[in-house]
Amino acid sequence: MPFLQALLNGILVGGFYGFMVLGFSIIWGVMGIINLAHGEYVMVGAYFAWALFRAMGIDPFVSALLVFPVMFVVGYVLQWLLINRVVERPHLISLLLNFGLSISIANVYKLIYTADYRSVTVPYSGSFELAGFTLPTIKTAIFFAALAIMLALHLFLQHTRLGKAIRAAAQNKEAAKMVGMDIHRVYAATAGICIGLTAMAGAMVAPIQPISPFMGPLFTVKAFAITALGGLGRIPGALLGGLILGIVETLLTIYVPGVGAKVGTAVSFILLVFVLVTRPQGLLSGLRPVEEGA
């Protein structure tokens, strides 16, 4: 495969990664919580798309729009009832809570759907030619949808009252309380948006990803790697980290002999370890705790 074509494939995957990681990155950046259940919300979104596709033939991109409000509510309620209770406590507690959640969600899904792999086969699963390149239709659509959602999220954070409140709470929690914000409501809304977006990513990726109850941890590891590469809580950083991971993963699977597609997971791990060893605070000092001195 020519290099430029390989690079293009990497970029397409990377755009999706940049979008997939947003929920993880923003929850960490705003609340200082490492959401170990991140991948499970991708999984939930994927099953949502699969179930709607099987039952009514609903397109996964439509499901992505539908799953957002549903998972927004789930994220809001989970934060309100559970995570807000431990958000002021040491990081380890919320980490364990989310770890427990991730295992519970995966096992509930296994009970409901069994551990069998599922797939969504959409009619437009082929590819098209453009300027001498071959573009896989689904991945291209995901890429542009991801960019559009990132832009929408950016505008939301910059210009709406809630968006500004989320940024303010991330930058100075005490000051946010001082001006009268109900910080727990801001956190709940943040979690709602983040988990909604994460499930959206899951629904969108359903047609190109084998779906199983235990697909989650792979996405959580990728989210860690992307955050280490691109930094916390910033959309451009997420995109940059996603693109680096997507490109490295794709190039390695194509050019290194004996390295099959299966090594993709290991690549995230190796990148993560590499970044942590060389720059423990992350490439763009993204892996700091949110509060100074914390």
């Binding site: 940024r167 000051a175 309380k177 001082m178 001006v179 914000m181 109900d182």
Partner: protein, 255 residues
């Protein structure tokens, strides 16, 4: 020296009237032992009152108790005729008290203007928000010049102005300021105190401030309170405290 139990003398400018803020025998803490062990204070309309005391005396805790960040176990707080002992911060703001806390309270990656917008977070009327921000920008021309600059890029003095300006947006009847001069160069400190006095004169702002910078703080104030170990120790007109031998020995480097 006025006795602790005695009613404080109202400042000369202010005629005899009801106190705006009344803190009455307040006990409060952070879950363990009480940090405040029976603190009382009164602030009259139009006054600037300065609170001094050694590190850890509980000065900031008094402010946090008034603002609803720390639970009051015993005692009461009244403001403008209204009981606010157990009010939440949102309710305290609505009652008309603004606060500039001891720790930096700006949002560094938001512009000066956005920081000001956040100061009116509880206000929904967009037109009112714009009007009030323009009013504060008129009070602080330096902020007007820097309205599009990220707050994190401001100098220490400018940040403090931004914090004070933001507190004024809610058109408070009273402003609580926790160490407004902390970390500022002497010249900047003077500007900040001048601004506080100007606001007191021009818009009749009532101010209760905590100061480590005892001399300048008292000089800018009408009255003062000295706190030690969570209790009142001295109180009186600022000039009197400045000349009190014990206060001088403890806080003004002797003589």
């Amino acid at each position: 020296m006025t006795d602790v139990a005695a009613r404080p003398t109202p400042s000369p400018q202010v005629p005899e009237q009801a106190p705006l803020l009344e803190i009455e025998d307040v006990y409060a803490g952070y879950g363990g032992d009480d940090i405040l062990q029976g603190i009382s204070m009164e602030v009259y309309p139009g006054e600037i009152v300065c609170v001094i005391g050694p590190n850890g005396a509980g000065k900031s805790t008094v402010f946090k108790a008034v603002y609803g960040f720390v639970n009051i176990r015993k005692g009461r707080v009244r403001f403008d005729g209204q009981e606010i002992t157990h009010a939440r911060p949102q309710e305290v703001i609505q009652a008309g008290i603004a606060m500039v806390p001891q720790l930096p309270s700006i949002f560094p990656q938001m512009t000066v203007y956005e920081n000001l917008e956040m100061g009116l977070f509880l206000e929904r009327d967009k037109r009112k928000i714009v009007e009030r921000i323009e009013y504060v920008l008129e009070l602080f021309p330096r902020l007007e010049e820097r309205r599009k600059v990220m707050a994190g890029a401001l100098s220490g003095g400018e940040r403090r102005m931004l914090e004070i300006g933001r507190a004024l947006l809610i058109q408070p009847k009273m402003l609580l300021m926790d160490e407004p001069s902390a970390g500022l160069a002497p010249l900047v400190t003077r500007t900040i105190f001048q601004n506080i006095q100007r606001l007191n004169r021009e818009i009749g702002l009532t101010v209760l401030m905590i100061e480590q910078n005892v001399r300048q703080g008292l000089e800018a104030s009408h009255r003062g309170y000295v706190l030690e170990l969570g209790r009142n120790s001295y109180q009186g007109p600022a000039q009197e405290l400045l000349h009190n031998p014990e206060v001088r020995r403890a806080f003004l480097g002797g003589r």
